[in-house]
Amino acid sequence: MATIAEQVGVPRSDTRTGDTVQALAVYLTLGTLFGSILMKAEVVSWFRVQEMFRFQSPHMYLTIVSAIVTAAVSLQVIRRLGIRTVSGDPIIVPPKEMGRGMRYAVGGTMFGLGWGLVGACPAPLFALFGSGISVFAVVILSALTGTWFYGVLRPRLPH
C-alpha cells in the first residue's frame, strides 16, 4: 500500500512499520479537534456525567446517540457506495469476537464503575489533564497501572 507521502516522494519516517510523520500530524490534528469538541460540548465534565447517570438532563444521551446515528449512517454510506480510503484501499471494519462474552460484561462493568467515580472515560482523561487539572496525572497513571494488571492477569481471566 502506497501512502500519500510515498506517492509524493516524501521519505518514510524511521519507525519500523509506523505511520509517516505527515500521517501522524493528520492524526494529531484530528485528535486536537476531537479534544476541543469534547471540551466545548462539556462531555468531559464530571458534573455532566453525574447528571447523566442520575437521569437529570438529556444532554449527554442526546450527544452520544446523535454521534452513534451519524457514525452508523456514515458506515452504511461507505459500505453501499464502496467508498475507499484516501490511498485507495478497501475500508474494513473488523467484527469483534464475542467469545463467551465475559470480557465485555465484566470488563465493561468495571470500566463503568470507574467512569461513574472519575466522571471521565479515557479521552476526557487526557483532555482534563491538558486543561490544567494536574491531579488527573494520577488518574491517568492509575489507569495505566490498571491496564498493566490486566495485561499480566490476562492469561488467567475468562474471555
Binding site: 486536537t32 452513534i68 461513574g116 487526557f126
Partner: protein, 191 residues
C-alpha cells in the same frame, strides 16, 4: 450566573454528529477504527519492560496513529482550557445541582469538583478511592472489554456489533452503581 461564565458553546446536535464523524473520517484517512482506550495499552507497551504477551507487539505500527490522536486530545484540552475563563461552569440542571449539594458537592465551577479532585484529597480515603481506584477500574476495565465509550459505544454500536452492546450495558450498569451507591458512600464517609 452570567452568560460569559457558562462553558457550553456546542449544543448536542452539533457536538454529537461531529463526534460521530470521527468514525468515517478515521476510516477514510487510514482504515483506523475510532477508539481511545487502546492508548493505555500502547503506553504500557512503549514504556514498561514486561513479559506479558499483551504488551509484546509493534506498538508503533499498531498504535502510533492512536498515540498521536491522544496527544491531540490533550492539546485540545490545553487550547480550550486556555480560552475558558476561570470559574466558568457547565449549565447543569437544577435537579443535578441539588443532588450534588446533598452529597456535599457545593462548588460546581469548572469541569470537576475541586473539593474532590485535588492533590490533598489523594491522601484521604475518599479521594484515593475515587481517583486511584477509579483510574485502576478504567484501565483494567477498558483493556478487558477491549474498548471504551468511543470504541464500543460509538464505533461498535454504529456497526451493530453485539459484543459492543454487551459492553455498553456493562458501562451503564457500572456507572449507575458508582453514581447511586459508591459515590454517596465515599462522600459520606469520614476522611
Amino acid at each position: 450566573m452570567q452568560a460569559a461564565e457558562t462553558l457550553q458553546v456546542l449544543p448536542w446536535y452539533v457536538a454529537g454528529p461531529l463526534i460521530g464523524l470521527f468514525v468515517p473520517v478515521l476510516l477514510l484517512v487510514g482504515n483506523r477504527m475510532f477508539g481511545v482506550s487502546g492508548n493505555l495499552r500502547h503506553m504500557c507497551a512503549a514504556t514498561l519492560p514486561t513479559r506479558a504477551e499483551f504488551f509484546r507487539y509493534d506498538w508503533r505500527g499498531v498504535g502510533g496513529w492512536n498515540l498521536a490522536f491522544a496527544v491531540g486530545v490533550l492539546l485540545g484540552g490545553v487550547i480550550v482550557g486556555l480560552l475558558t475563563p476561570d470559574g466558568a461552569r457547565v449549565a447543569l440542571s437544577p435537579a443535578a445541582v441539588q443532588s450534588l449539594a446533598s452529597l456535599g458537592i457545593q462548588d460546581t465551577a469548572g469541569l470537576v469538583p475541586v473539593e474532590l479532585f485535588n492533590w490533598q484529597m489523594l491522601f484521604t480515603v475518599r479521594g484515593a478511592l475515587t481517583m486511584v481506584g477509579g483510574g485502576l477500574l478504567i484501565g483494567f476495565g477498558t483493556s478487558y472489554a477491549g474498548g471504551c465509550t468511543s470504541g464500543h459505544a460509538i464505533t461498535g454500536l454504529a456497526d451493530f456489533q453485539l459484543p459492543s452492546l454487551v459492553a455498553v450495558i456493562g458501562f451503564f450498569a457500572g456507572g449507575l452503581f458508582s453514581t447511586w451507591v459508591l459515590l454517596p458512600l465515599l462522600l459520606g464517609a469520614a476522611g
